[in-house]
Amino acid sequence: MATPTEAEVTPATRELVLDLHRRMVRIRRFEESSGKLVETGEMPGFLHLYVGQEAVASGVMSVLTDADQITSTHRGHGHAIAKGAEFRPMFAELYAKTTGYCKGRGGSMHIVDMNRGMLGANAIVGGGIPIAIGAGFASQYRGDGTVAVSFFGDGATNIGAFHESVNMAAVWDLPVIFVIENNGYAEFTSQERHMKLTDIAERASSYGIPGVIVDGMDALAVRQVALEAVDRAKRGEGPTLIEAKTYRFFDHQGIKGMRIPYRDPAEVEAWKSRDAIRLIEAIGVERGLASAEEFERIWAEVEDEINDGIEFARNSPDPDPADILDDVYTV
């Protein structure tokens, strides 16, 4: 995938619409399938599902190459998948098998894929932000023309690491893009209860960098602001703070209903009516870029990939307790 060198309002081509659609459907179906497998007890652990936010990861990742680096969050499957991660080692990791991305050592919250510039999901809220500026520092140090993108939620912008990292990246003009996925809730606490601001992008002004707000349900719009931020970073002009307004359709954790009534059902339904995948399908059909049948084919192909991934994971070997000390240190 070639990265454009100049920002321009990208026309929604057939290839682009189908590419973004496939990234989002892969995330959606992986998450729904995983949620069910944990609910039935077939997979251990617990899951923070990305369903609803697919346009953010997909739009941003569509302008990156494998050489560009990202850091992710506890809700990280979507970032890995949008960056190109394969279902077999992803399911295998969730099934805690040796064939998983982390050999069964990490699980849902630690998916990593170094070959694709996925520097790892992170179970500490905001923990990946400082690491991303280090990846961006390495880009600048080597002058290799790559960028680093850090994804995190509205809640993470309240921790000190966010402030320290954005400030340092700004002072040093590091090629880093900070992407706030504002889904309105820090776990179960709503935004108006955890900050005074409505638009978190305003925080950019206190670091002297651009802050951009984008509709996080519109993958094409997200792609456009990401493109501009990446170009700016590559020109040596430093970081951009992007706030994507989005929503998670499931609970903080798992696929069951809300354990406490912290969200208004009408609010949930309003956001679901703006489903990012249905939106891009509508754009594709309305503009004559792709047919409904073509979108259906993508859903079907992804379904086959899901089944293959689950089958692979089920048939993979468990880790051996004799190896429990492997990889604590590099020897």
Partner: protein, 328 residues
């Protein structure tokens, strides 16, 4: 090999210079490490020698300093991130123990983090409770980290070189009170291996395991005891993670008595771990309970009279050895 006398801080500084000359992937960041050369002059001359791309002053932002190092290390660079005072480790702790230490393991071996953290520990300067701590037991408790405490100029140079060449996250804790101490240091670059203790003085009647600045105090005590015909072996572990248990246990099997001395508080200190390992590996050889001499369970006080009472010294080490020998 040309060896000359130089101070602990100069030896460390020479190790930094040579490690940066050896590998262009090594860079240094921290608060006032470039223009000022570090508040203890540990980094003097590095900015002039290697330029502002490789030697950078940061904002006061410990989480970002260490996190930047973690991300850069994961991409194959070899960052040296300075935390000035060991007490500031607490400010950066998430990046140290949740990120740097665990990435290799929780990512199934996919990533190495060749990060070096430098800092200065220890009391004795009336710097009070937030600028004087010895927190090596905290760090040694976390799988994935390596912790070095150089107690001689030779090791100050060799351990920083060893840390930078190491493919794991390492913390090198300089001793503030030892910066001006002189000793022999070879001119050329060399690395002291992690996990290899030094027998600093040989003896037959008791073993003192001395951590960091307690080494010169233990050697002074050993000299006094020798005048009374008491032969003490003094061991400097040099790194507490990994810990060279074998050298310690071999010594205790020979001398049958062990005293562990450190200036960190006694409760849950590294001495507790060393004592436990000695009892597991050398119980039948012991003629006395394994003894510990360490700081009382209090923050480091400011008043010199209190601070002197807080940190163990040669006189109290001598007393502890004599008490141990009285018991048969």
């Amino acid at each position: 090999m040309t060896t000359r006398e130089m101070t602990y801080v100069k030896a460390f500084n020479e190790g930094m210079h040579q490690a940066m000359a050896e590998d262009p992937d090594v860079f240094l960041i921290g608060e006032d490490v470039a223009g000022y050369g570090g508040v203890f002059h540990m980094f003097d001359g590095l900015l002039d020698a290697y330029g502002d791309k490789r030697v950078k002053d940061t904002p006061i932002a410990e989480q970002a300093i260490i996190g930047l190092g973690v991300g850069a290390a994961a991409r194959g660079l070899r960052p040296v991130c300075d935390l000035m005072f060991m007490d500031f480790v607490g400010v950066a702790m998430d990046q140290i123990f949740n990120q740097a230490a665990k990435m290799k393991y929780m990512f199934g071996g996919a990533v190495s983090v060749p990060l070096t953290i430098t800092t200065a520990g220890g009391a004795g300067m009336s710097a009070a409770a937030q600028h004087s701590q010895s927190l090596e037991a905290w760090l040694a408790h976390v799988p994935g980290l390596k912790v070095a405490l150089p107690a001689t100029p030779y090791d100050a140079k060799g351990l920083i070189v060893g840390a930078i060449r190491d493919d794991n996250p390492t913390i090198v804790v300089l001793q503030k009170k030892m910066l001006g101490v002189k000793g022999p240091v070879p001119e050329e670059i060399y690395a002291v291996p992690f996990g290899e203790a030094t027998i600093s003085r040989e003896g037959t009647d008791a073993t003192i395991i001395a951590i960091a600045r307690m080494l010169p105090e233990a050697l002074k005590a050993a000299e006094k005891l020798a005048a009374d015909g008491i032969s003490v072996e003094v061991i400097d572990p040099r790194t507490v993670q990994p810990l060279d248990t074998e050298t310690i246990v071999t010594s205790v099997r020979k001398t049958n008595r062990a005293l562990i001395v450190h200036e960190a508080v006694q409760f849950g200190g590294i001495g507790a771990e060393i004592a436990a390992q000695i009892q597991e590996e050398a119980f039948d050889y012991l003629d006395a309970p394994v003894a510990r001499l360490a700081a009382p369970f209090a923050p480091v006080p400011y008043a010199p009279v209190l601070e002197n009472a807080y940190v163990p010294d040669a006189a109290r080490i001598e007393q502890s050895v004599r008490r141990m020998l009285e018991r048969n």
